[in-house]
């Protein structure tokens, strides 16, 4: 199965794979994190980061730094790397790379739509959008007043169009629907991404399907836990689960009827890969679950670098960078708020 890729992979994608692996070695290491955790002020963090790849992005920032500035600049670096890779990419890698950003695009669309509903200024909203999820016609989203119009006028030209066909039925947009819409879109996106990866075949399909299954299962668990005690009905909940993953379909049926966290745990412990995650958290507690999932995800993403000649490294790299930015945000929040004893609570070491 792997043999033929080796012959042709490098013709188109060898250069980029080299780049992404090079970039990967620029990720912060445990030693870097240890240094960062020792910082006393945000300026110290900036000083430490100036020795890393983030240096050029932060060096011109004036001294009263804010956490948001650090996160913004670090994201900017990620965006630059992504754009660089996208420029160099051939089909089907370029499509693959674009798929990675659709998640942000969904967030942006939802952001603009809700903002428009509350009559915010469009330019202000655009500033808040995630730079990875921008597309050309995003500003015109603001004209739409209901889903049908939104779809007909704007989204039909974007790659998100197929995903919207599912939730186009809901005519009125309110806060509840928006959140459901976001998750419906995300589900459709994951399904589509999954299909696309399966179509690519080879090592890419194998690794990516594994990673996406994990992602889908994690979303399923999160949606279940977070919808406990809300107005979300079981059917609605069931509709938000993706159509693939380890839990599909039998696990989903069980999750859909869960009423508390321990029931969720009961369901999840039937699946060996998730046993270890749930073993880490004590009964009745769900706060640490997110961290456990993040750690597991990072572990899996790192493993994808062990194989060659596949696209999953790009996905992994982007995800790891995002995790790294989250880590930086957490560290700088802790430093800024003078809560250094909490620093280690949420930092997920990548290497």
């Amino acid at each position: 199965m792997y043999s033929w890729e080796m012959l042709s992979f490098n013709i188109h994608d060898g250069f980029l794979e080299a780049i992404v692996r090079g970039n990967r070695s620029g990720l912060l290491t445990a030693a870097d994190y240890n240094n960062l955790c020792q910082c006393e002020t945000l300026d110290d963090i900036k000083m430490h980061l100036s020795a890393t790849e983030y240096g050029p992005y932060l060096q011109n920032e004036p001294s009263p730094l804010h956490t948001t500035t650090i996160v913004e600049k670090c994201t900017l670096k990620l965006v630059d790397e992504y754009k660089h890779m996208l420029c160099q990419a051939n089909e089907p890698l370029s499509t693959f790379l674009q798929y990675i950003t659709y998640g942000h695009m969904i967030d942006n669309v939802v952001l603009i739509v809700t903002g428009t509903l509350h009559e915010r200024d469009v330019n202000e909203l655009l500033e808040k959008c995630h730079p990875l999820g921008m597309f050309d016609s995003i500003a015109s989203l603001a004209v739409a007043q209901n889903m049908r119009e939104l779809y007909r006028l704007v989204l039909v030209d974007t790659p998100l169009a197929p995903y919207f066909s599912e939730c186009i039925t809901s005519e009125d947009l309110d806060d509840m629907n928006i959140e459901i819409m976001r998750n419906t879109l995300y589900k459709a996106y994951l399904d589509d991404f999954y299909k696309f990866c399966a179509k690519l075949g080879g090592a890419t399909a194998e690794i990516m399907c594994d990673l996406l299954s994990f992602e889908a299962d994690r979303r399923a668990v999160n949606i279940t836990i977070n919808s406990i005690g809300t107005e979300l009905t079981r059917d609605d909940r069931r509709k938000l689960y993706s159509n693939f993953g380890l839990l599909s379909p039998y696990g989903h049926e069980e999750l859909a009827v869960c009423e508390d966290v321990d029931q969720v745990r009961g369901v999840m412990e039937k699946y060996p890969p998730y046993q270890s995650i749930f073993a880490k958290i004590s009964y009745g507690e769900s706060q640490m679950l997110d961290k456990a999932f993040y750690e597991e995800e990072v572990r899996r993403l790192c493993l994808s670098f062990e194989q060659q000649f596949h696209y999953a490294v790009f996905f992994s790299y982007m995800r790891l960078r995002e995790q790294e930015i989250r880590n930086l945000m957490w560290i700088s929040e802790c430093v800024a708020q003078n809560q250094k004893n909490r620093v280690h609570d949420s930092v997920v070491f990548i290497f």
Binding site: L42, H66, T67, T68, H118, E119, E333, A336, Q337, N338
Partner: protein
């Protein structure tokens, strides 16, 4: 405010906030946010683009509105308009200076607390700090 839809409860009042983005977000999450029919809000989000004039106007507006009982203001923002805050002496709405995450709380510059300290100094303030 005449145009307000004050149907929820007749003798209830609002909490107004003037703070940085994260603090405002947090309090909005708690549900203090209020948007009336004229789209006027009871909070002001201060970022580095916000001018002192805007803060002043918001402060004056909030303290003049009769449906606001408490005005929360980040201390570092209060420092920008210190003359207004110190000059304010009505009991209602009450002005509260709150710490923000990047700016640790400085009890010395709090206009009320400094008066408290002044009156309290005979008792025990020296060993308290």
């Amino acid at each position: 405010m005449a145009g307000r839809g004050n149907a929820a409860s007749n003798n209830s009042a609002l909490i107004a906030i003037i703070a940085d983005e994260d603090t405002v977000t947090g309090f909005l999450l708690a549900g203090v946010g209020n948007v009336d029919l004229r789209k006027t809000t009871n909070y002001l989000l201060v970022d580095n683009k916000t001018t002192v004039k805007q803060i002043e106007d918001a402060f004056k507006e909030f303290t003049a509105r009769d449906d606001i009982a408490i005005v929360l203001i980040s201390q570092y923002i209060a420092n920008m308009i210190r003359f207004l805050v110190d000059g304010y002496n009505k009991p209602i709405p009450a002005i509260l200076e709150i710490p923000s995450k990047d700016h640790p709380y400085d009890p010395e510059s709090d206009s009320v607390l400094s008066r408290v300290k002044h009156l309290f100094s005979a008792d025990s303030s020296s060993e308290r700090r």
